[in-house]
Amino acid sequence: MSVPVFKGAIISDFNAGNFEGCLKNSEDLPGVDPVLAPFGQVVPALLQDDFECWRNAPDFAVVWARPQSVIPSFARLLRYETVPADLLLSEVDAYWALLERAGARVKFLFVPTWTAPAHHREFGLLDLKAGVGPAHALMQMNLRLAEHCGKSPNIHLLNSQRWVEAAGRHAFNPKLWYMGKIAFGNDVFIEAAREVKAALRGLTGQSKKLVLVDLDDTLWGGIVGDLGWENIALGGHDAVGEAFADFQRTLKALTRRGVLLGIVSKNDEAVALEALRRHPEMVLRPEDFVGWRINWQDKAENILDLVRSLNLGLQSVVFIDDNPVERDRVREALPEVFVPEWPADTTLYESTLLSLRCFNAASITAEDAQRTRLYAAEGQREDLKRQLGSVEAWLKTLDVRVTVERLQPANLQRTTQLLNKTNQMNLTTRRMSEAELSEWAAGANRRLWTIRVADRFGDSGLTGIVSVESRAGLATIVDFVLSCRVMGRRVEEAMLHLAGEYARSQGARTLHARYVATEKNRPCLEFWQKSGFAAAEGALFSWDLSNPYPRPDTVTIEGKDA
């Protein structure tokens, strides 16, 4: 199956041919096919719908303009003229209006922040002075842009200062400017291309969701089985110990933005868990991990087992291990798992983790911060399942409650996030921005419900989407999305019951669903094949609405929109 390639537009006031080349040539996924607008045409490109760069209906655009070329007052500041702050910001607002207009043409619009022109270093003490200092003005201007972007669901500001810093003294080169009108060195463009691709991955559900770590010499220094937990290197007044503690803090911070942690380690489980529980400077405790496989088995097999038990896909996993042999083994056995090269120098652990660019997210929801707890509850459910033996008996004790709501501003962000992140139980895997989804759901003969799922172990939150479009006796399920966290609890059947009852109320005689295969949504096909719907042409499923689709007796459906 081919990997999707994103069509892009690059609009800049300088020659961005090298940036285009970096985007095309970078081996990072996703693939990108950009069209470069003629440079120096920023305002016409943003204003005109028929400008060439829009003709190919790009999925995303990057608008990269130097501040002195799009904000006239900033150019005046560079000439030592005094400029009132409100005038400067009003020009930023006017520029934002252009960006917003362009944002309506694409799913994602990326705007690198403004950076100071490299050759303007003579401002010295004046640089940060209000009214005259370019550095002061740039901070205000970038902040204003960030505030605007904060209110827009699909326009994202990218921090280009980091690219400039990473490129160091090769960030700018006067010869590139005077001979080619190229505003930055290639090292800046390489960083920018990586960032844009990471953003695209984050916005289209390809971010990593689970970090699996080894223990000895990865979370702490030394072999706990040999040294005892009291003697491992962790924290204290010691460079190596501090580096391990900081690495653990950074891992813990990731859990607050929805990334899960797990352990895969060759160790004695009791010894390792004792270290995690008892070491006074241990940052990560057992409850910070959604699961572990601590034994002497093959790590690749352990990873497979743990990931399956969490209902996640291997493509959402990062595996961190100090041992190059273990890294190679996992890379070879499980090529979908991302196994970053890991430095031998422990003081580089934290910065290596932070540079991975695989955890991108456009927002952090309250559920993200609690995801580890939600998965821990899932572990309790699985334990109960094992005790009860039969799935039906287990489901009866779970007391699953489904709350149904129509799409509305309060749940739009989470619904869009779910639509764009869910891979496995996803009928069509269509990806949409908040504005697109909202507009679609408001269309005639359409209904989109969000599904919240709770049971006696806790509230899993908004974890499902089902939408129906009905026309002339035929109703079609357009979206059928369910988080892997709640799969297999007959919420799927409850969603079909909901769709079926709505379709019957609209006078439809048949309910259709067309499965669109991706690399990852095989579990969805397997559900539909067992759903009771008649299968035709392999991927078209239909239900004769003269009979209602049965409501699962182990699930309670609530909500005024049910």
């Binding site: 020659n15 041919g17 090298n18 285009e20 080349g21 970096c22 095309k24 040539n25 090769h170 080169n173 010869k175 590139l176 001979m179 080619g180 190229i182 060195g185 290639n186 463009f189 390489i190």
Partner: protein, 101 residues
């Protein structure tokens, strides 16, 4: 000759930098006979700028010298030094030779 070999390595690292941003069909081989400019050359104007800047930066790092490969003198020479990788290496080696104390 030792200098020319070192210069060739510098040019090859410049070619790596150019290839990093070039379309597949425009990429240059790291060989002395690779044509750069002229009828047989694959370098467009953007590629030439990239190559010049990358080589100048590398020369500064490797030899601690500042060289201007884009001055009028180089471009106006009867035998264009940018004809092939080898002619460019000869030209740069000549400049380095002149700079020797």
């Amino acid at each position: 000759m030792a200098t020319k070999d070192k210069v060739l390595q510098v040019i090859y690292s410049g070619i790596d930098a150019v290839n990093q941003v070039s379309a597949k069909e425009a990429r240059l081989n790291k060989e002395p006979e690779t044509a750069l400019m002229g009828e047989a050359g694959k370098l467009d104007s953007l590629g030439l700028v990239n190559l010049i800047v990358a080589i100048e930066q590398k020369l500064e790092e490797e030899f601690d010298v500042t060289v201007n490969l884009a001055d009028g003198q180089a471009m106006s020479l009867k035998d264009n030094p940018f004809a092939t990788v080898s002619t460019l290496a000869d030209y740069i080696a000549g400049i380095l030779e002149q700079r020797k104390p």
